[in-house]
C-alpha cells in the first residue's frame, strides 16, 4: 500500500510538469475504467473521452500546487471527478440523474471537495475563455505575436525575425504594447 502511494505521488509530480510518460500512464489505466463506467450509464465513448479529458485537466491543475496531496488514489479521484462531471452534464440536459449513482458511491459523493474542485475548474476555464476572447480581439500582429511568445515558446529573437522587427528589443517593445492592449480588453471582458 505504501509503495503504491509513493508511486502515485511520483506520477503526480511528473504529471504536474506535463510529463508525457506519466500522463500516458494515468490515461491508460483510467480511461478504460471511465469509459466502461460511462457506457454502462448510457453515455458514449465520445462522452467518456470528453469527460475524461476534463477530469485530467482538473487533476493537472490541482497538482500544480506543490503542497497538494491526494487523499485517495488517482483512480478513485479521477473516477469521482468524472462521475460528478457526468452528473452535471446530465442535469444540464434535464435528464434524470437518480439512476446514476449506486449506494456505495453515494457516501463518497457526500464529500464536497470534488464539487469544489470542479467549480474551481469551471471558474478557471471561464477565466481562460475570457483571456482567449481578448486575445482574439486585439488584432494582428498582436495576436500572433503574443501567441508565438506564450503558446509556441518562441524567443524574442525568433519573433523579431518572424514579424520583421529589426531587433529583439523592438519586438519586445511591441510585445509590451500588445500586452497593454490585451490588459484593457481583458479587464473589459471580465467586467461584462
Amino acid at each position: 500500500m505504501v509503495s503504491s502511494i509513493n508511486t502515485d505521488q511520483q506520477i503526480l509530480t511528473a504529471l504536474a510538469a506535463g510529463d508525457r510518460v506519466a500522463t500516458a500512464q494515468i490515461y491508460r489505466v483510467n480511461h478504460p475504467i471511465v469509459n466502461g463506467w460511462l457506457i454502462k450509464k448510457g453515455g458514449t465513448s465520445e462522452d467518456a473521452a470528453d469527460i475524461f479529458q476534463e477530469a485530467m485537466v482538473v487533476l493537472y491543475n490541482k497538482v500544480q500546487d506543490e503542497n497538494f496531496r491526494l487523499t485517495c488514489s488517482i483512480n478513485t479521484y479521477l473516477l469521482s471527478i468524472c462521475k460528478h462531471l457526468w452528473l452535471k452534464k446530465l442535469q444540464k440536459l434535464h435528464k434524470d440523474p437518480v439512476s446514476l449513482f449506486d449506494n456505495i458511491e453515494d457516501t463518497e459523493m457526500g464529500n464536497g471537495s470534488y464539487n469544489e474542485d470542479i467549480n474551481v475548474h469551471k471558474e478557471r476555464e471561464l477565466h481562460y475563455e475570457q483571456l482567449n476572447n481578448a486575445l482574439d480581439q486585439i488584432g494582428e500582429p498582436c495576436r500572433s505575436l503574443l501567441k508565438s511568445y506564450y503558446h509556441q515558446d518562441k524567443s524574442m529573437q525568433q519573433i523579431a525575425k518572424d514579424f520583421g522587427y529589426t531587433n529583439p528589443e523592438n519586438a519586445k517593445n511591441q510585445k509590451y504594447k500588445c500586452l497593454t492592449r490585451l490588459r484593457k480588453l481583458f479587464y473589459n471582458e471580465q467586467a461584462k
Binding site: T7, Q10, I11, T13, A14, A16, A17, G18, D19, R20, V21, A22, T23, A24, Q25, Y27, R28, V29, H31, A49, Q53, M56, V57, Y60, N61, Q64, D65, E66, V120, E123, R124, H127, Y128, L131, N132, S144, L146, S148, Y149, Y150, H151, Q152, D153, K154, S155, Q157, Q158, K161, D162, F163, G164, K175, Y176, L179, T180, L182, R183, F186, Y187
Partner: protein, 367 residues
C-alpha cells in the same frame, strides 16, 4: 527603475525573480503608496500569470489528445508503472484565479517556466529518411514471397540501394503524384519507385519540381496505371487554411503507414516563409511529402521539415506552391485532381482508410 513607465518590464522581472534588492524595496514602497499603480501592477501580474498558465494548460490538453489518438491506435498495452519518471523540472504554483494586491509581502518564489528556458536557434531538418540495406532486402524478400503467393505479375523491385525515402500522395488517379522535392534529391537520382500498401513497386518519372518551395510532381510510368477505382476522394485546395485548423497526416516514417494529427500553429512557416505553414504535429524522418489534410478532407499542404530536436514545430509547404508549379508546367495540361472532397462526413478512421490507397512510400535510388 522608473516603474510606472516600465510596468511590464517590472512585472516580468518581478515574476522571474530578477528584480534587484533595491528595486524590490522601491517597488514595494510604491505599491504601498500609489494605489492606482498598485492596481495596474496587479492587473499586469495577473495577466502574465494567466497567459502562461492558459498556454501551459493548452499544451497539456494537446498532450492528452495526442495520447488519446495514440491509444486509440494501439492494441497492446505495455506494462504499467515500470518506467522511471524524471521529476526534475521545476513547476510553479498556479496563479490563483483572483490574486491579491499584497503581492510583495508574499515570500513565494515565482518561476515562469516557459519563457526562461527558451531555445534560440531554431534549426530546420528535412524529413526524408535514409535507409539501411537490410530492411529493404527484407521487404524485397517479402514481396517476392507475396508475389509467389498472389501469383500476380509485379514490377521487379529495384536492385540498387535506397538512398532516400519519403511519402507521396496521388494528385490524380491516373498516376500523377506529389512529394517533397528534397525526397527525390531535387531531381538528382537514378530512379524513383513508389511502394503501395500491398508492397508493390511502381517505377516513376519526374514531371516537375521546385527546389525552392520543395514540391515535386511525378508520374507512375506504367501504362493505364490507376491508384484505385474512381476519382480521388479528397480535394486539393489552394486556400490559405486558418490558424488553429485541425489537421492530420499519413506518412511512412517506417515501412508501415503512420497517422498523426495536430493543428496549424502559424500561418507562415520557417522564418516566416509564406509558402509554408507551421504545424503542431509530430513528424519523423520519412514523412516528407506526406499530405496535410484538414478535417473536411481537403489537402492543404505537404510536410517538408521539422524543427530542432525537442521542438515540436513541423513545417509544411502550402498547396499554393503546388498550384504554382502546375501553372508553370505546361506539359501537364489535364490533370484531373479532386476538387470536391468526398469524405467530410466520414469518421476519421474511415477517412484514413480511404486515404491509404492514395498515400504511399516514395523510394529514391542512387548508385
Amino acid at each position: 527603475m522608473p516603474f510606472v513607465n516600465k510596468i511590464w518590464e517590472t512585472a516580468e522581472a518581478y515574476l522571474n525573480g530578477t528584480l534587484s534588492e533595491s528595486d524590490s524595496v522601491a517597488l514595494k514602497n510604491l505599491l504601498n503608496t500609489d494605489l492606482k499603480f498598485a492596481n495596474e501592477f496587479n492587473e499586469c501580474i495577473n495577466l502574465l500569470n494567466s497567459l502562461a498558465d492558459s498556454a501551459k494548460q493548452q499544451k497539456f490538453r494537446n498532450l492528452l489528445q495526442d495520447i488519446e489518438a495514440e491509444n486509440n491506435k494501439e492494441t497492446k498495452i505495455k506494462s504499467l508503472f515500470t518506467r522511471i519518471i524524471s521529476i526534475t523540472k521545476p513547476y510553479r504554483k498556479t496563479a490563483a484565479v483572483a490574486a491579491t494586491v499584497a503581492l510583495l509581502t508574499s515570500t513565494i518564489t515565482y518561476w515562469i517556466v516557459t519563457p526562461s528556458i527558451k531555445k534560440n536557434n531554431s534549426q530546420y531538418n528535412i524529413i526524408s529518411r535514409e535507409v539501411e540495406h537490410i530492411k529493404t532486402e527484407q521487404k524485397n524478400q517479402k514481396i517476392a514471397i507475396d508475389s509467389i503467393n498472389k501469383k500476380t505479375t509485379l514490377q521487379p523491385a529495384p536492385p540498387s540501394s535506397v538512398k532516400y525515402t519519403g511519402t507521396g500522395f496521388a494528385l490524380s488517379n491516373d498516376g500523377y503524384f506529389v512529394t517533397a522535392s528534397h525526397v527525390i534529391n531535387n531531381g538528382k537520382f537514378d530512379s524513383v519507385y513508389i511502394q503501395n500498401q500491398e508492397g508493390e513497386y511502381f517505377k516513376a518519372s519526374l514531371v516537375a519540381h521546385d527546389e525552392k518551395t520543395d514540391v515535386a510532381i511525378l508520374k507512375v510510368d506504367k501504362k493505364n496505371f490507376h491508384f484505385s477505382k474512381g476519382d480521388l476522394p479528397y480535394a486539393i485546395i489552394n486556400n490559405k487554411a486558418n490558424l488553429g485548423s485541425q489537421i492530420f497526416t499519413l506518412g511512412f516514417p517506417k515501412d508501415e503507414e503512420v497517422y498523426s494529427e495536430g493543428y496549424i500553429s502559424s500561418k507562415n512557416g520557417f522564418e516566416g516563409n509564406e509558402m509554408q505553414y507551421t504545424l503542431e504535429l509530430p513528424a519523423q524522418h520519412g514523412q516528407s511529402g506526406a499530405p496535410v489534410i484538414d478535417a473536411n478532407g481537403n489537402i492543404i499542404a505537404l510536410l517538408t521539415a521539422i524543427g530542432m530536436q525537442g521542438e515540436s514545430n513541423t513545417y509544411a509547404v502550402s498547396t499554393k506552391a503546388l498550384f504554382d508549379l502546375l501553372e508553370n508546367t505546361p506539359k501537364i495540361n489535364k490533370i484531373h485532381f479532386g476538387k470536391t472532397t468526398k469524405f467530410s462526413k466520414l469518421s476519421r478512421e474511415q477517412q484514413i482508410e480511404k486515404m491509404e490507397t492514395y498515400t504511399f512510400s516514395v523510394k529514391v535510388y542512387k548508385k
